[in-house]
């Protein structure tokens, strides 16, 4: 199942959730291992709290996590059993000159960590930053988050 930018999806194992071509975007997954129930959010920006017009809250890392959590609990996930992983947040066009976009991915990851810590959801693994694009696959049967790097054809498993 494809998860596009500013979207989140929830599903049960053995489904696989996939977000392709992540640059500065962040993929955050929440998972209830006992029920093989989880979700993936594909976010674009760091904190959305305090924005005047939050049209689609899922584009913000913090608000996406809160919405996905609510959805998962509604589907029968046990709040205390939930764990999180995340990947993405690269700086594709590393440059001293573009302070506007510089480090947005890292800021998104920071915002996600903050909200996870506040919600007391343990963050079991992360692969953040760098300057390579990522495609991530979340296997709901196992809870593994597989990170592919297309440019040099390597991958790692969180």
């Amino acid at each position: 199942m494809r998860v596009g930018i500013a979207e989140y999806r929830t599903a049960r194992g053995p489904a696989v959730l996939r977000a392709s071509g992540l640059g500065s975007c962040l993929a955050i997954v929440l998972y209830d291992p006992r029920r093989a129930l989880g979700g993936m959010a594909h976010t674009l920006l760091p904190g959305g709290r305090g924005q005047d017009e939050v049209s689609n809250p899922v584009k913000f890392a913090d608000l996406a996590i809160e919405l996905m959590l609510k959805d998962l609990v509604g589907m029968g996930a046990e709040r205390q059993a939930l764990v999180a992983k995340m990947a993405g947040g690269a700086n594709m066009f590393a440059s001293d000159f573009l302070s506007l976009v510089d480090g947005i991915g890292v800021r998104s990851a920071h915002s996600a960590r903050e909200v996870l810590s506040r919600l007391q959801i343990p963050l079991l693994g992360e692969d953040i930053g760098g300057n390579r694009g990522r495609t991530v696959e979340f296997d709901l049967a196992t809870g593994h988050l597989l990170v592919h790097f297309a440019r040099d054809k390597t991958r790692l498993c969180l």
């Binding site: 500013a6 071509g21 992540l22 640059g23 584009k59 066009f93 506007l100 976009v101 990522r134």
Partner: protein
């Protein structure tokens, strides 16, 4: 103004403006590499953020991207995307030998310079048309999945909007041959300065 209700007259004006801009850019490229460059009909795309990578030929397609910010009286981004083979050929023409994109600083610098020259030609023409001073930032280069490259564009757009407005023009040289060079030129205005880019349509 709501983007999904953009009147046809503004769409047409944007296409025309971009066509003229890319025309100037193509002439500059043509002089640089000594090939005739043709332009395809421009497209004005108004799409949800999630659909942008698909508009660029798929999120996972490897592309060479040159990214510049537009500075001055109106703001936005310019992205030039070249498929891998075209980027290598272009480097070959500019530097004298076909290069592995990532390994070679000369190849990367030559592609950045292409971006700089094309963006400058485009922005000069566009600025004259809309009566604004537009300057390109220093170009940045990356070679990676198209989806990962466009995230950078969407960050600015996404702050204010759930829809992305992009004006795309495809261009190419010797497009029917094995040595064709094809590229895509994208103008992505920042939502705060849409009005400036549209002023050409309303005559303000």
């Amino acid at each position: 103004m709501l983007l999904d209700q953009m009147p046809d007259v503004q769409r047409d004006a944007l296409k025309e403006v971009s066509n003229i801009g890319v025309g100037h850019a193509a002439t500059a490229l043509s002089k640089m590499i000594g090939r005739r460059i043709e332009l395809f009909v421009p497209r004005v795309l108004v799409t949800p953020l999630a659909d942008v990578p698909a508009c660029l030929g798929g999120a996972e397609t490897l592309m060479a991207g040159i990214f510049l910010r537009i500075l001055g009286d109106a703001r936005g981004s310019i992205m030039l995307l070249f498929p891998q083979a075209s980027a290598s050929r272009l480097c070959g023409i500019l530097t004298g030998c076909e290069q592995e994109l990532l390994e070679n600083q000369v190849a990367v610098s030559s592609l950045k310079e292409v971006g700089n020259i094309l963006a400058s030609a485009y922005l000069n023409a566009l600025g004259d048309l809309i009566g604004k001073k537009l300057l390109p930032s220093v170009p940045c280069f990356a070679y990676d999945m198209a989806g990962a490259l466009v995230d950078t564009l969407l960050v600015e757009v996404g702050r204010k909007s759930d829809l992305a407005l992009m004006v795309e023009t495809e261009f190419g040289g010797e497009i029917d041959s094995d040595t064709s060079i094809r590229g895509h030129f994208f103008l992505i205005p920042d939502p705060e300065t849409y009005e400036a880019f549209f002023s050409v349509a309303t005559g303000d």
